[in-house]
């Protein structure tokens, strides 16, 4: 997202370039253009653009990407504080996002 930027230096996204095989799946699935593949390796082109959706890590065939996936939603965060991050929900079933 070029026109709308959120807080910098907060994402938990980590890319292990040693493990990366350059398949490009992360660059395909990322909706924010965070990744670029150059010379057979993925690189973080725009790390602060990451919204931690987890699509890259979910589809990396060699586990080279680490991220704590979740929803950037205030209700979800509060629910995580109360019930623990693993059980966090938006608290509204299908009624929200």
């Amino acid at each position: 997202m070029d026109t709308l930027r959120y807080l910098p230096n907060v994402t938990t996204l980590q890319l292990d370039r040693e493990t990366c095989i350059g398949c490009g799946e992360c660059a395909t699935v990322c909706p924010q253009g965070v990744f670029a593949v150059n010379a057979g390796k993925a690189a973080l082109l725009d790390r602060d653009g990451c919204m931690e959706c987890g699509a890259c890590a979910k589809n990396c065939p060699v586990g080279a990407i680490q991220v704590n996936p979740g929803v950037g939603c205030a209700a979800y965060i509060i629910s995580g504080w109360i019930k623990g991050r693993e059980n966090a929900t938006c608290g509204c079933d299908a009624d929200c996002c």
Partner: protein
């Protein structure tokens, strides 16, 4: 492996009983055998007999208005859907956007056909939220394709994938139950890219033999994507959040406030009546509307102005954007209540308006496609204590102004 269960006639789920073409009622409702002819019908006359029941008619099911007919396939009859939206679709869209019936606005999952697809036609995977389904089919005019609708509990693609409802297991389950392997020759499906946070493409391939091709984010890019041999422009792979996309979210933001609003108004009424005589009903009436006005204008700035003007409001944290957007609203509240209250009262109304605006703007993070949970958590840890502090200070000033004023 192959299930031979009959595919039920797809129909809108519960709560969507009207506007279906060809209503089919259950025969023999009272357990009695019904006489084959209704009393007003007679055997006289040479008029053409009404059309007989089609193969799609099943007791207890009704046909959805978006179904144009049925296509015979090796896996049984598959409903062919219309690519144009009618009045009931548009009405449904408006109601879902406003928030009414939103959680129940869904269609039956399963396989559908668009145009006259053959075994070589592409398979498009989508969610069973009716708004998603409509947004997809309206872009498919003139195309021949199969539509594999997943059971995402009536939630859109991205959010259902984020919630873990739309995952590899659901895709595999739906491929099997619709016997997709008997309908198409190619072992590949086009899955929207925004499902990738819930779907591991390798798992789908391993469990079903079907390869996942990540399709574009927006349905309107599908034709170009397919024509280009499954190649997406970089722009097709990036989410956007333009003015139109933000404006359509505002009604739901307001609709979801209906519950807390009652509590807040009750609390403001009580606060407004507190004073030297413990509680004065006349003071509550006289001052309560001003607190309610601050609340209403705080909603206008936090839930309307912030979404609409998001890129132009300074600050990155939404709580900050909300507070800044609340300044003109608070100014307006102050002007309206100008000579009716003292300085303490004005301070209370300012704090209250800014706080409401800030909280609602922060709440809007969940509706945007670019906020990370780590970022939202960081801003909440800083903003919530300030917001609570401001609300308490506002209450103290408001009661204090009643005591002195």
């Amino acid at each position: 492996m192959q299930l031979s269960q009959p595919t039920p006639a797809p129909c809108c789920a519960e709560g969507n009983r009207t506007a279906a073409a060809g209503l089919i009622l259950q025969p023999g409702i009272n357990g009695r055998l019904q006489f084959p002819l209704a009393p007003e019908q007679s055997c006289r006359g040479a008029d053409a007999a009404p059309a007989p029941a089609g193969p799609e008619q099943k007791p207890g099911y009704e046909l959805c208005s978006f179904v144009a007919g049925f296509l015979d396939t090796a896996a049984g009859p598959i409903p062919r859907i219309k690519t144009g939206l009618d009045r009931s679709d548009h009405l449904g869209t408006v109601l879902a956007r406003v928030g009414v019936n939103r959680a129940r606005y869904r269609i039956a999952p399963g396989l559908y056909a668009v145009g006259k697809p053959d075994p070589e036609a592409p398979v498009l995977v989508t969610a069973n939220y009716k708004l998603t389904f409509d947004a997809l089919r309206r872009e498919l005019g003139g195309m021949n394709a199969w539509l594999l609708v997943l059971d995402t509990r009536g939630v859109n693609v991205w959010c259902s994938a984020g919630k873990g409802i739309l995952n590899a297991a659901e895709i595999v389950r739906r491929i099997r139950s619709s016997r997709l392997d008997q309908v198409v020759r190619r072992r590949e499906i086009i899955v929207p890219q925004l499902a990738a946070n819930g779907v591991c493409a390798r798992e789908v391939k391993k469990a079903s033999g079907f390869r996942v091709i990540w399709g574009p984010i927006r349905a309107r890019d599908l034709k170009a994507f397919i024509q280009a041999g499954h190649r997406a422009d970089p722009a097709m792979r990036r989410v956007t959040f333009d003015l139109r996309e933000r404006l359509v979210l505002i009604p739901v933001e307001i609709y979801l406030l209906k519950k807390p609003t009652l509590w807040v108004l009750a609390a403001l009424f009580v606060l407004s009546g507190l004073g030297s005589s413990i509680f004065s009903f006349s003071a509550a009436m006289e001052r309560g509307w001003m607190a309610a006005l601050a609340c209403a204008l705080g909603v206008c700035s936090g839930a309307v102005a912030v979404p609409a003007l998001l890129p132009w409001i300074p600050g990155r944290a939404f709580a900050v954007k909300g507070a800044l957007a609340g300044i003109p609203a608070a100014l307006l509240v102050s002007l309206i209540c100008w000579s009716r209250i003292g300085l303490g009262g004005h301070l209370a109304l300012w704090l209250w308006t800014l706080t409401v605006s800030s909280v609602l703007a922060m709440n809007f993070t969940g509706a945007t496609p670019f906020t990370s949970p780590s970022g939202v958590e960081k801003e909440m840890r800083r903003a919530i204590p300030l917001q609570i502090g401001a609300a308490v200070l506002a209450a103290v000033c408001w009661i204090g102004s009643n005591l002195t004023g």
